[in-house]
């Protein structure tokens, strides 16, 4: 028997979680994806909960206990999606348990993308810029200050690539490591991959899809030039391809630990994450339609159908809106704010926000917590968006991920966690 027909709008992490959970509940699922969205630009790590009040400039003193951080978020931010999930379940551990349940569904042990880290502690990983980022889950082979051999690594420039600079990385990394009480003494090296041209860009690098063996050769040549190094660090530019743990793979072959840094966009690890998710969806029998939603229809308080790319029509009994924030295309701000698909009212601090000067939703300093990134739809306890009167907008519409209001993934370190938790819940609710 065919299950309930569920359509998910959005092909990022939240959309994938929703689709996979609806599928698990027996629904027949269609995903409408406009593009990779923010997931494909992410660093490659998955943030679940940062310290809500981190001491600036002393990264070593922040709280790294994910459970405790979630608890603090729930206590201090009643509108946060974590708080909504906890309230609905009547249990503050509900957030952690849904994420725990979702991770093996999204990233099965025998899957292509191997994650390291865990849900208990945020761990420091080196970024492409030399800073460290504290995060729960990260790609296998991420460079951590405590990784084997990292006290004397060889950091490799890719010849001609301007997005990464090993010398600047080394200086910033030394500063970061010392703030954490670690020591890193990097040596500088250079690697040239065949077929990349004289001045490759990251975007170009990511597209060259070739046998990983040629990378092994290039890296081992570079390693042979350096004396006394105990590990190798690669900038995150190697092709997204099918092999997610490329650094680990090269390391196995040359018999020395090889690590890769977390990325800034255009991000190879982010691309891998996106590739992995589409692969998971295909394997689980989720149908994917690529394109932007151009029109939508409802009847008697139920969402009925959407038109994709001005041609294809998708009908469903139940809907999940996981269209993301501004990057993803879920929200737009011109003079007024707008939810792009269903025209839902948008909220900021629990109040409807319509026309706002950008200066009124941003701080004077670029590093401030900007309300601009907290705008989104407001949902009830079943994650159904509400209309202007505060009642659910449609009986059969659920929302997940960055389109939600009440949290600020930019500063609170809950981006991936909210996408996974609300995605899984919305998917289950939609399939019910």
């Amino acid at each position: 028997m065919e299950g309930k027909r569920v359509a998910v709008i959005g092909g990022g992490l939240a959309g994938a979680a929703a689709a996979l959970f609806a599928r698990r509940a027996g629904a027949s699922v269609t995903i409408v994806a406009a593009g990779g969205g923010a997931t494909s630009m992410s660093s490659g790590s998955l943030d679940v909960a940062g310290d809500p009040c981190p001491p600036i400039g002393s990264p070593g003193k922040r709280c790294t206990d994910v459970d405790l951080n979630i608890e603090k978020v729930i206590l201090t931010h009643p509108g946060h999606p974590y708080s909504i999930i906890a309230r609905a379940a009547g249990n503050k551990n509900a957030v952690m348990s849904v994420i725990d349940e979702a991770l093996p569904v999204l990233f099965p042990r025998d899957g292509l993308l191997k994650l390291a880290g865990g849900l208990f502690h945020n761990q420091p990983c080196f970024t492409q810029f030399g800073t460290v980022k504290f995060t729960a889950l990260f790609p296998q082979g991420a460079a951590q200050p405590s990784s084997d051999g990292l006290e004397s690594p060889l950091i490799l420039d890719v010849d001609g690539l301007s997005q990464f600079n090993a010398a600047a990385w080394a200086k910033v990394a030394q500063d970061s490591a010392s703030k954490l009480g670690n020591r890193v003494e990097p040596r500088l090296g250079k690697v040239r991959f065949k077929g990349t041209g004289e001045r490759p860009s990251t975007a170009f690098m990511m597209q060259i899809s070739r046998d990983p063996d040629s990378f092994v050769e290039a890296v081992s040549e570079a390693a042979a030039q350096a004396q006394g190094v105990r590990s190798i660090i690669l900038p995150p530019v190697l092709p997204s391809g099918i092999r997610s743990n490329i650094a680990w793979f090269i390391g196995e072959r040359i018999n020395m630990p090889v690590y890769e840094l977390l990325a800034m966009p255009p991000s190879a690890p982010g691309q891998r994450l996106a590739t992995h998710l589409s692969d998971r969806l295909a394997r689980e029998g989720v149908r994917t339609i690529s394109g932007k939603v151009t029109r939508f229809e409802s009847r008697d308080g139920f969402a009925r159908s959407v038109e994709v790319g001005g041609r294809e029509s998708v009908e469903a009994e139940s809907w999940v809106l996981a269209s993301g924030k501004y990057i993803g295309g879920g929200l737009e701000k011109t003079r007024a704010f707008r939810e792009t698909i269903f025209g839902l009212p948008l909220f900021l601090n629990d109040r409807i926000v319509s026309q706002k000067f950008s200066g009124n939703v941003t701080g004077l300093k670029v590093t401030d917590r900007h309300a601009l990134f907290e705008v989104g739809v407001k949902v009830d306890e079943l994650l159904r968006p509400v209309d202007r009167s505060g009642k659910r907008a449609y009986e059969n519409l659920f929302a997940a991920g960055a389109v939600l209001s009440g949290y600020n993934y930019m500063v609170d370190g809950t981006g991936a966690g909210v996408a996974i938790a609300t995605g899984a819940k919305a998917g289950m609710n939609a399939a019910e």
Binding site: A38, M41, S42, S43, D47, P54, I56, G57, S58, P59, R62, T127, Q128, F129, G130, T131, V132, K133, F134, G160, S162, Q163, N165, A167, A168, K171, V172, A173, Q174, D175, S176, K179, R199, L262, A263, M264, P265, S267, K325, Y326, I327, E332, K333, T334, R335, F357, S358, G359, T362, L364, K365, V366, T367, H370, L372, F373, Y409, M410, V411, G415
Partner: protein, 547 residues
């Protein structure tokens, strides 16, 4: 013994650097002090036009005449930097046409001085063909033409020329006190550099050219110079929305324009009395709306276009009472304080326009030379600015050094004949051929050149010299690449690298905050997520009140 010079110039705007150049060419020993960066005040924030002052024709004909004459000279000494901007003034009603006709006939008389073309009358159909996005609610238009320039490059070229003629240029060194003898005459200045170290420097004459800061520094010096500071706001669009400048009428009847400028379009300007701190200028959304509303009438689709930045500067307009801001004279004044107040050792300059900076510098330098007993005459109208000797062929240079022809053509615009010197840096280090900023574009070698030759010490300085990060992405992708070039050349520590990056991102943010809308919000989400989330920059660096 204390350091001493014939002349100390206070202020590194176009007047300060122009005067330093004029005096240095005449053989005078000059030192210039700029507290922030060259051209970071009124000069850097102006419309970037070497124009004739069409709007001053009705009430300030001298300014129009001076501007036109000097425009001709500037074209001779820095041909690589100037680009022609055709202007059209739309005519909204039949009965206004004869007035415009007469007005432009008068303006034509000044045109040959600036190698301008005489005006033409265009029919409605002709206007629409030239500017397809223009409102259909016109009967025709009048044309004129003007010249555009990058004011920051003009200023850097003047400083470079001054330095090559022996002047000492001190960028990021603030004058914190005017030193006086027992009779109250100025005998030098006390300076403080960016590391906080202080030094007294003596001189026979202090040239006081602080522009927007004049009211403040005049008090400090004890001289009587008063300006009526006027805030001017511009908006930058991501591309050339049109190939001609269109003159606009704003809601309050004031004039304004939108013009193609380098790779972008500029809409401006406002003109409002400014009582605030010239070091802390912010554009408000009301100012942005004022400009858009004015432009929308003639270009109905303007709100669909992508604004990438709003910026402001303060005009050091001569003081006047009883007039609206836009009706104030754009004339300038050189103050001989010995004659005016009996205080020797100091000369001030105020007012004026970018287009007539050279002539103003000449006037001030003449006065200084007469005081010093120097007889040499001004030569700034005949001696080319650095790079202005000849304009090299972009394709040839690009082929010779193996870099993109487009990047070289942009570089030639900024450096003229000196583009070869810039590219020569890639011989010893071919890595410097890499592109740092893709929007403009800017190559690594140009950044290094600006640090070695043009007194740039920060990413923001590099932006001022090269347009680094001035394109549509507003430094979202180039900032971390550029800081690596800066770090290598300046030997920055890991901590300084992070501080530089943060402070540059903050400078960019200042210009983006009032205009965030549409695709710029997406761009900003990417920018902040990559720097503050993926690279976790803000939480790592100990930030001390950066701005």
């Amino acid at each position: 013994m204390k350091e001493s010079h014939d002349v100390i110039v206070v202020g590194g705007g176009v007047n300060g650097t122009g005067i330093a150049r004029d005096l240095a060419i005449r053989g005078v020993d000059v030192a210039l002090f700029e507290k922030r960066d060259l051209a970071s005040g009124a000069t850097g924030g102006c419309s970037g036009m070497i124009h004739g002052g069409l709007r001053y024709l009705l009430y300030d004909v001298d300014t129009t005449r001076h501007s036109c004459v000097d425009s001709g000279y500037i074209q001779k000494i820095a041909p690589h930097m100037l680009f022609r901007i055709p202007f059209i003034m739309p005519i909204p009603h039949k009965f206004t046409a004869p007035f415009f006709e007469t007005y432009f006939e008068v303006y034509d008389k000044f045109a040959p001085e600036k190698r301008g073309k005489p005006h033409t009358m265009l029919s409605k159909e002709q206007v629409i063909e030239l500017v397809p996005t223009i409102s259909r609610d016109i009967v025709g238009a009048v044309t004129t033409d003007e010249w555009g320039i990058d004011p920051q490059r003009l200023c850097a070229a003047n400083a470079l020329s001054a330095s090559e003629h022996g002047a000492h240029i001190h960028n990021h060194v603030e004058v914190i006190e005017f030193l006086k003898d027992e009779k109250g005459n100025v005998i030098g200045v006390k300076t403080r550099d960016r590391f906080g170290s202080e030094r007294d420097v003596l001189s026979r004459i202090v040239m006081h050219a602080t522009g927007p800061w004049l009211n403040r520094t005049s008090k400090m010096a004890g001289v009587d110079v008063k300006i009526r500071p006027g805030k001017g706001v511009h908006l930058t669009f991501d591309r050339r929305l049109l190939n001609m400048s269109v003159i606009l009428e704003m809601i309050d009847g004031r004039g304004s324009f939108i013009m193609p400028h380098e790779n972008t379009s500029i809409l401006g300007t406002t003109d409002d009395d400014y009582y605030g701190d010239p070091d802390d200028l912010r554009v408000t959304e009301d100012e942005v709306e004022y400009l858009l509303e004015g432009a929308e009438r003639m270009l109905p689709g303007i709100r669909e276009a992508r604004i990438i930045r709003a910026w402001a500067a303060v005009r050091p307009t001569l003081y006047g009472w009883g007039k609206n801001e836009d009706a104030l004279s754009r004339d300038h004044m050189v103050y001989d304080h010995e004659k005016l107040e009996g205080m020797s050792g100091i000369v001030s300059i105020a007012g004026g326009k970018l287009a007539s900076y050279r002539m103003m510098s000449e006037e001030a330098s003449d006065l200084i030379c007469s005081k010093l007993g120097v007889e040499a005459r001004c030569q700034t109208h005949v001696v080319p600015l650095p790079g202005g000797e000849e304009t090299p062929d972009a394709a040839e240079l690009a082929g010779e050094y193996g870099v993109s022809r487009y990047a070289v053509s942009r570089m030639i615009y900024r450096h003229g004949a000196r583009a070869r010197d810039v590219l020569e840096l890639t011989r010893e280090n071919p890595g410097l051929k890499r592109t740092v900023c893709e929007c403009e574009p800017v190559l690594a070698c140009e950044l290094v050149y600006s640090m070695r030759k043009e007194w740039a010490v920060s990413l923001t300085d590099l932006r001022n010299r090269t347009r680094l990060g001035a394109g549509p992405c507003q430094a979202a992708t180039c900032a971390s690449r550029a800081v690596a070039v800066l770090a290598e050349e300046m030997g920055l520590s890991g901590r300084e690298i992070q501080e530089q990056l943060l402070s540059f991102l903050q400078r960019r943010w200042r210009g983006k905050r009032p205009i965030l809308g549409g695709v710029m919000v997406d761009q900003e989400e990417i920018n902040q997520a990559s720097h503050f989330l993926s690279a976790n920059l803000a939480k790592m660096a100990a930030i001390k009140g950066f701005d």
